[in-house]
Every structure is written in C-alpha cells, then in structure tokens.
Subunit: 442 residues, 2 copies
C-alpha cells in the first residue's frame, strides 16, 4: 500500500479514524518498524473542543482542522487515505470500504469516534442538528446567522420571537459553551448591526435533564457555570426533559409540567452514540454502542484488534471507574495500544512469544469549560478555578493542543480580536439556509 | 422599512447587490437625507479578486468576506436585508422578491453583478464550474483537494493522470491566477505530503482562445505572465478553443487540430453573463446581458433607475472606450450615481428642478495579476512592472482594499505563512466531493 515494496514484509497496522486517539496511536507507531495505514472519512484531523466557536462565527473551519497527511509528511512508512469504512471482516483480517474494496491488516485500531444520539428519536435530528463535524458546525453557523437575518426582515411579532429563540439541549461542556457563545453573539451582533430588532428580543435556553450543569465536573464548577450563564442572560432549565422536537420548536417537561417553546433554532448537544463500526463487529456493546473491550483495549477473542476513544467502553484499571469520552482519554488509549503493538512487533522480530499486556489505566488531567466572554470553569489538580483565571487556563490548554503553527496563531489572534473588538470574525452565511420569515417588511 | 418612521418622508433608495459598486453607492448615500435599503442574496460583501486564493486553500472564506450590515453599524438610515430579488416593476416602482413580497423605491440602483457564461453551452457548467461566490470557491477547493486524494489511492495509471490533470479555461486575471496557484499547490502538496504520487505527475493547462494571456493588459504583461507560468510548469495553450466539456475531460481545437484531454478537474474562468435582472427590465441589453444605459448610467426612459458595475454596458465619456468589468469601474459608477441621486434629493428639498446630470467617465487606475509564488505583472501609471516588485504592489493594493481590520491582518498573515513556510493554511475538504478512483489500492 506504499510505494516502497520493502514495507510488504513489515506488519501493517490499519488505523480507522484520525481523531485524538487514532492520530496519537499512528504517530507513536510511525517510529516502529511497521507500515501504518490511516483511513479517515475526511482529509483533516479536527480539534472538536473548539467546534462550537466555528458554529458561533468566532473561528473559521480551517483554524481548527489540520490535514492528516501533513502530520506524516516525514514518515514514509505511514500512508493516509480518505475512505469510508463500511465494516470489518474479522475472519480475513480486512477492512471493507463502502466501494467494496478491502484493506488487509495485521493489527487494527478502530478509533472512529461517536456521533449524536437522539435517544431513540432519530426524527428529531432534522430539527435539532448535532455538532460533530466541521460541516455540522458550518451549517449551524449559517442557521444561527440566518435566524438574525429573518428577525430583521420580520413583521409578525410571534414569528419574530421564534426567529430569536435558540434552544440548546444538553448541558455538558459543548452545550454550556454553545449557549454562552450564542447569547454573546446575539447581544454583540443584534445590538450593534441590526437596526430593526433589539438585543432584548434574543433568548437562549439551555436544557438539561440532570439537576446541574456540567454533570461530569465538580459541584463548584456546575454552580459557577450556572451563575455565569445567568449573568449573561442564558435561561437555564435543569431537571428538564425534551419530550418533543418539531420544526416549530420544542416541548419541555419539568416536574410533570409541560411547556411548548417556539424556536427556529434548536441545537442538540445531549447524547452520543458510538460509530456503528463497533456494533458491526458482532461483539458485546453497551447502550451507547461502545464496544466492551478487554482491559488491554483489545476486542474479546481478537487480540490484534483494538477499539479506542469514544468507541470503547472501558473501566479504568486503577479507579475502577468507567473512562469518560474525553480527548485526554482517547489520547491515552492511543498511546496504550501503540505500546502494546510495538512490543508485540518487537517480540515477533526476536521470534519470542508476545509479551504480557498491561491493562489500561486512565489518568484524569481534569476538565475545563468556557462560559461566554473571558469566563470559564476548571477542575484541575483536584482544585477548582473560575472566572478570568480559568479562562486563561482554558485558552492556554486549547491553543497548546491545537495542531499546526498557523492554527495556533490564527486562533489566538481571533480570540484577541473577539475579546478586544467585541466582534466575531467569521460572521458569514455560506450555503442557503431556509429563511422562515412569516411576513416580510414591505 | 426602518424602525424610525420619520424616515418615511425621506426618499428611499433601494440598492440591489452589495458588491463593489452597490456598496460604494450605499456608503456615499448613507450621508444624505435619504433612506437606503440594501438587498443582497448573501449577508456579506465579497472581495472577489481573492476568490481564487480560497479555491486554492490559501485563505478561508471568512477572510475575504465582510458582513454587509457591519459596514452600516453606525448609519441608522441604512437597512440591510438578505433577499433574493426576482425582478423590478418599473410601473409601480417596486422591487419584487422571489417570495412575492415587494419593496418600493424612489430611486433604484441595480448592482447585482455578473455570473459565468458558457457561450450557449450551459450543460458544460456541471463539469466546469465557475467561480463567482464563496460557495463556488469552497466547492472548487474541495474538488481540487479531492483530486489529489484520489491520486494517492489510485492504481490505474490512466485514471491517475486524469486525477492530476487540471484544465483552466480562460486566461484573464482569474484564469492566470488560478492556474498558477493550482500548479503551486500541486507541487507543494504532492511533493511533500503524498507518499505514493509524484509531483511530476501533476499537470495544469491554461486554455485561452485569444493569442495572448491577460488580453486586457499590456503586451509586456501578457509576455511576462506567459514566461512566469512556463517557468513554474503551467501548460499554456493560446489560440485554442474549447469545443466540448464532459465528465471525462475537454476537447480542445487549435488551428483545426483537435485534442482530447482527460481531466477530473476543469475550471471555467472564460466568459461572464450579467445578472438576468438586467434583461428582465425589457430594455436594450448587449450580448453579455448588460443593460445599455444612458451616459449618466440611468436606464433609458427611467431616470430614477440606475444600473452599475458588471450589469451595465457603458462607453466612457472621455476615452469613448467601453468601460471594462473591473472593480475600480464598479466603484466609480457607484460614486457617480450616488452623487446624481444626492443632488437630485437636494434639489427636491429646495423644490428646484433636478440639476443637469454629468456623463460617467472612467478613470483607468491600471491593472494587476499574480502568477504563483511572489510573482506578478502590473500595468500602472502607463508603466509596466513584473516579478517581485509587481507582487508587492499587488499585495499592497489587495490588502488595502479589503474591508475590515481582521481581514487585513488574517490575509497578510496567511500570505506571510504561505510565502515563508511553503504551506497552504486552508487545505481542508468540506462536504463530500465525488471520489473518482478507478481501482483503489488494496
């Protein structure tokens, strides 16, 4: 599969998905005497934590994406193909592409991540898009900006309300950050650039089924996040379930009481469902479609096939806690399987038996989330930070883990400009989102 | 149409299209005692001269676009609406939107620009897209980058050639700049990031029906441009006509001799056709669909309706030459009609008769075009420049005329990074361009 036929002798490791886990594994394995084949649907590695800033017109798609093959420019034993993997043939050790072609492997690392879950209500997706890819974020940006355009042209007061109501479902980091950023965008944009509608008309709801925001973080952070969101005017609804989503809006349920809310824009940040590649293996998966893997992250009965990142259901060997679906976990899993494969290959060369495999242990580095303008919450080193300090931590961490010099420069600059000039740099509508104006001004 | 009903008394000027001409007219009129209504299909003003750099992954779409309403943030007498104008009712003085609603006007400025012309072969558009909007450029970028991805995965040698053959039709500034930039992208990208294909396999053809490149520029510039393109390896075909375009490629005709060329990517930069709004007026138009206007740029028989920019067929009052379809001409026309309307309105206030109207005279500021990396040609102040000097002139002029501080900073930075690091910053595929791999590597 590479121009260098000598590689044919080398064991081939196929990596499906170049997210945080797959990329990490590939990078580490690229130094071993192996051939690495990376298969990904898109041509870029995506820095998902900043996706919400693309959706809210702060960043451009290219700022948080990096061409996968650029990473391996100087690693001739790594080839990258843009491909849609349809399944895995565990008997013949081949990955099957959607066009029927196959790619054989000696080792396989499945790291295809997760998509949005609508808890058995797939029909909601059409009205409440999720945000997992750059395309998703770009569509959401167009949708949100079009809602303001519709408001400016609207005469009907009921329709106007609907144009300017934004409902975000799910108060994990993505939901919290999205809600804060949309409210900010609304206030900045409407107050200054729209001459007919008023900033006061814009309304952002954040709906969470549990009793607090950021359930995965500390209670202090949940509390601080709620205070910060309240301050900028986000309408937070806890202990509240979404019982219906239509083109017109959502119906919420809180303590048996129902409320229908008209909204043009509904965004889904609630549940995740692992890539169907996992369930296609025919092994045990959990309710979120994640493969229940062995302690070493291999698939039961298939020691040369590994599942990592959001596709894997793992219990930490140390804490005995389930490993969360976050970037650091994916990266650590990538490192773990790379080490196992490398020492396997090494043993092969020495023609000795394959060495014992360590169980995966997750090291929790802590977590962060931003809330609107220069505010954030952070749980790090067993401590809790909030406000500007936390925001600086958040900014540093995110720029630091971005891939690519250009991206670091552009993202930092965009933040500086957004912070100092109160403007969003990427406020352009691409494509032609549906306009919903009921009665246009004459 | 604005929140301030007092405006009702003021004469309303409707501007259709916020390109260079329309935006200039609106800005100047915003200072007069009038109400200005801007109608545009998109929410942003687009800096078209740099569109080719979006198509070749140097810049992000947002870098060369600016929200129209941002320009009028502090001009309450200007309202902006995202709208699709379907036609003009000259009897009732109303603009008709595609949803049937109408916007009345006292004065109308039509500045909707031009689209691509396929010389009566509209069926070619599907295989040879043009580049007039950000969406076009983003699609072309995805198409071009996908061609490289296909090449990397290709086994069939004939198909490989086709993946890596890029045909640009039309050698005006856009065609020349596009061809140069694609060749550069190919060499930079393939040589370094693709491990299976070789840069040598990439081929860029530039096809022009006339006997020289940049026919609108000086012969020196044409010559210099051809030399520069030859140097970076672009295959220039002059006196050559395209006689067929299919999904498989193009057939060229040169001196009675025909040549069929297989190519996945064919880009159209040949002819332009004015917005159909012009011909819909029912007045005389030229072959390119441009309205033959009076010397003052008004529509014959309708002194309060003006057509400017690429929609207008005008003869310069001084040079007696037809005014070219370039940005400076559009801007000057915008200024011209703004002045006429302003003095009309002023006269109205004084209840005196409308003053005599000057004829439009075009002042040629000269023209520039880049060829690949840090090279350009320029005809300015009756003199000819080329090479690095011309490129510096070109860069300065283009950054200078960009709207928005952020855009100036980001474009300058992108160029610096591209120039110094030999990388293109926006090499991401958005959407899912068709893959044309004939036989995929196993």
């Amino acid at each position: 599969m590479t121009q260098d036929r000598a590689d044919a002798k080398r064991p081939r490791i196929v990596v499906v998905g170049a997210g945080f886990g797959g990329l990490e594994a590939a990078i580490r394995l690229s130094k071993a005497p192996v051939e690495v084949v990376i298969l990904d649907r898109s041509n870029h590695h995506l820095f998902q934590p900043l996706l919400y800033q693309v959706a809210t017109a702060v960043l451009s798609p290219a700022d948080i994406a990096f061409p996968i093959r650029r990473v391996f420019r100087n690693r001739p034993n790594v080839v990258v193909f843009r491909a849609n993997v349809a399944g895995v043939d565990l008997d013949s050790n081949e990955v099957v592409h959607d066009d029927g072609t196959r790619t054989s492997f000696d080792y396989l690392i499945l790291a295809a991540g997760a998509g949005q879950s609508y808890f058995g209500r797939p029909e909601w997706e059409a009205f409440a898009p999720g945000m997992k890819t750059l395309e998703d974020a770009a569509r959401i940006r167009a949708r949100v900006l079009q809602a303001f355009e519709d408001a400016e042209a609207e005469v009907d007061p009921e329709a106007l309300k609907s144009h300017l109501t934004f409902v975000v479902v799910g108060a994990g980091p993505t939901g919290v950050e999205l809600a804060g950023a949309i409210k900010e965008l609304a206030v900045d944009a409407i107050a200054r650039d729209f001459h007919r509608v008023n900033a006061g008309d814009a309304r952002v709801l954040l709906v969470e089924a549990q009793d607090r925001l950021l359930p995965a973080m500390s209670r202090e952070s949940s509390h601080a996040a709620r205070e910060a969101l309240a301050k900028i005017g986000v309408d937070v609804r806890l202990d509240t379930r979404v019982i219906s989503v239509t083109r017109e809006g959502v119906t919420l349920e809180h303590g048996g009481h129902h409320e229908a809310i008209r909204a043009d824009t509904i965004l889904w940040a609630a549940g995740v469902m692992a890539s169907p590649l996992g369930s296609s293996l025919g092994v045990t998966c959990d309710r979120a479609g994640r493969v229940v893997v062995e302690p070493d992250l291999s698939v039961p009965g298939h020691p040369h096939v590994f599942v990592i990142g959001d596709m894997a259901a793992v219990t930490c060997a140390k804490s005995r806690q389930p490993v969360p679906g976050v970037c650091p976990a994916a990266v650590q899993m990538g490192t773990h399987v790379a080490k196992i494969i490398a020492s396997d290959v090494h043993a092969r060369h020495r023609a000795s038996g394959s060495p014992p495999r360590p169980a995966f242990a997750y090291f929790d580095k802590g977590s962060l989330a931003t809330i609107g303008r220069a505010k954030a919450v952070a749980d790090l080193w067993g401590r809790h930070f909030k406000g500007f300090v936390a925001w600086c931590l958040w900014s540093f961490v995110h720029v630091f883990f971005l891939i690519g010099f250009r991206n670091r420069v552009f993202v930092s600059l965009s933040w500086a400009i957004t912070y100092l000039l109160y403007t969003k740099g990427a406020r352009i509508i691409l494509g032609d989102p549906e306009s919903r104006v009921a009665r246009r001004v004459e």
